[in-house]
Symmetry: C2
Subunit: 347 residues, 2 copies
């Protein structure tokens, strides 16, 4: 079903299990105790960082499956993406598992592109069990996108830090053997917006208009407002981008209560002075949403959340060719598993 351009899932597609793996720096995150594991080395016994990125995905998938009653052969599709050229780590990981594979690219918004599509495939009856996730590796990504890291270039205070990690979720139908952690109720797919920012060290500001647009459209298309949600959580806008987004949403008439509008990028490395603006990378939203925020939904301490992953669809080519940064954000509405039919104005 659809409402405006928002996808409405009527058959309670659910998150049944998750796997969240971090890197050595993420081990210092205040949330690391709820990640499934953190690697001690960026190399992970591989001879390249891209191959280490693959290991993060494979370990996250193994973790999801080990925590679920669903067998590997019963997975109908793997929907995945990352930031590396031709999403090589995701494709190499998909080679390891003998599972139908759909490669995705929404940059750091890939986690919610995958979650929205997976929910549609399960809700529509085309798949019983889908694995979806996103990953990034600091050393693989930053050498590709920002500066060759070997130069040791300094970063301005607007620059984000790319998370090393992977977050993967199993989407399916709840059963006696597979209890739902949360239900996926709705999804709004983002438009590519670009307000002319060309600074790769200020991606939060570049992504803010796309985030504000998809949140605004989600509210309007579903006849909801911030009051209908316990939390609205963006992906990797970090301090500067998140505050711009809040300002843009205020201009559109949406006001948040204190602690209601959060950002995974702000939370990931909370108070670590090494990270000036906050965290980024497709892994950032995937890891925080599939660990901390799902845990809160599972406990029932929050009932309903709008998860909004944000992505800068840039490539080194974008800059070489003088283009500004096209950005996108996708929003997925998650509800507490025992609460989906009672919460929200429209249901």
């Amino acid at each position: 079903m659809k409402q405006g351009k928002t996808w409405i899932f009527q058959h309670k597609p659910s998150i049944l299990s998750t796997g969240v793996i971090g890197g050595p720096f993420e081990k210092k995150s205040p949330y690391s105790s709820i990640f499934d594991a953190c690697k001690d080395s960026l190399w992970m016994e591989q001879d390249s960082f891209e191959k280490a990125n693959r290991i993060l995905i494979e370990d996250a998938v193994d973790t999801v499956l080990s925590k679920s009653a669903v067998l590997a052969e019963d997975i109908d599709a793997l929907l995945m993406g990352d930031l590396i050229n031709q999403i090589t780590p995701s494709s190499l990981a998909a080679r390891t598992f003998s599972t139908p594979y759909l490669g995705l690219f929404s940059a750091c918004a890939t986690s919610m592109e995958g979650l929205a599509l997976s929910a549609a495939l399960v809700d529509g009856g085309y798949c019983d069990n889908v694995l979806t996730g996103a990953s990034s590796h600091n050393a693989a990504v930053e050498k590709q996108f920002r500066y060759p890291t070997e130069y040791g270039g300094q970063k301005p205070p607007t620059a984000q830090w790319t998370v090393t990690g992977a977050g993967v979720a199993l989407i399916g139908r709840e059963s006696s053997q597979n209890k739902a952690i949360a239900h996926i109720e709705k999804a709004t797919i983002g438009k590519v917006l670009d307000k002319g920012i060309k600074d790769p060290f200020n991606m939060g500001a570049a992504m803010a208009p796309a985030a504000a647009d998809v949140i605004d459209r989600h509210f309007r298309q579903t006849n909801q407002s911030p009051e209908d949600f316990d939390l609205i959580v963006t992906g990797d806008l970090a301090w500067i981008g998140h505050s711009i987004t809040e300002d843009l949403l205020k201009e559109k008439g949406w006001h948040f209560k204190e602690e209601q509008f959060l950002d995974c990028g702000k939370l990931m490395y909370l108070d670590d002075p090494a990270v000036q603006a906050g965290a980024s990378g497709p892994a950032c939203s995937a890891m925080m949403i599939y660990s901390h925020f799902l845990k809160e939904l599972e406990k029932g301490s929050i009932k309903k959340i709008l998860a909004v992953a944000t992505g800068a669809l840039l490539s080194p080519l974008t800059f070489q060719q003088g283009e500004s940064i096209p950005c996108i954000a996708h929003a997925v509405e998650l509800v507490c598993a025992d609460n989906s039919s009672r919460h929200g104005r429209e249901s």
Copy 2:
């Protein structure tokens, strides 16, 4: 609905309109008269080949819309991908249209990844109208993947030629205003296979096992065989890969009649001595399926076709790091619009 791991579409999601744009070399194709337009220059008045790639997509989208009664604002999603790092041309084209965008990457199999997902989104009721397509630009792609083209390196007879072009289709429900060209009945999503081939000049051979696997699974999962289809058409296996695929399918017990098992890559530049092995690139299958083969389905000269796009999920990194080439193929079953309820064993 699903049958094995094959997606079954029960509400006749349809191809309503298409746009196919080629480049200057594609103008010499025996099929060029049924393309919507061919560019005279690889540059297309842009200052880079990647930006020219974007123009191909934008022109194909404009063409689809101009041939349909559906308005741009009624498009619910744009599902698209290409071969350039971070699918930059697709993202830049998506910026031009104010449409929710889902970036895809299955390399040269992207056309059928997009068609399968679009059919599911329309069939499941999450979207009314979806645009999906794939594109490639010879000069942008070959400089990135094979050799820097400035070197003027010679190609062996197993090497394919990357098509310059874009093919885009509008997927929706048939109405009195929007007649269906064909219905989309089923889709089987491919697994990533890799038989150890490391030669980027022999991608047909690398992709053949993935193509044979998805065709075999589609037949078995839907209780069909080659006799149920007028044509089985692969994407860009070209002469060598296509013949290997036919051999692999024979080993699995599937035999084709003469002229029943075709390949877009073999047909695109038929008899052009400049192209030794055949054509490739995401545009190859998109252009041939969304022009020639749909035209035949529309005329009723063929009733049912299995369209199988094939992709090598390689990147320059794959080779630098000594990896062999992971490959994938996705299969979509298309039927003549007035025939969908009468044809095929299982319906």
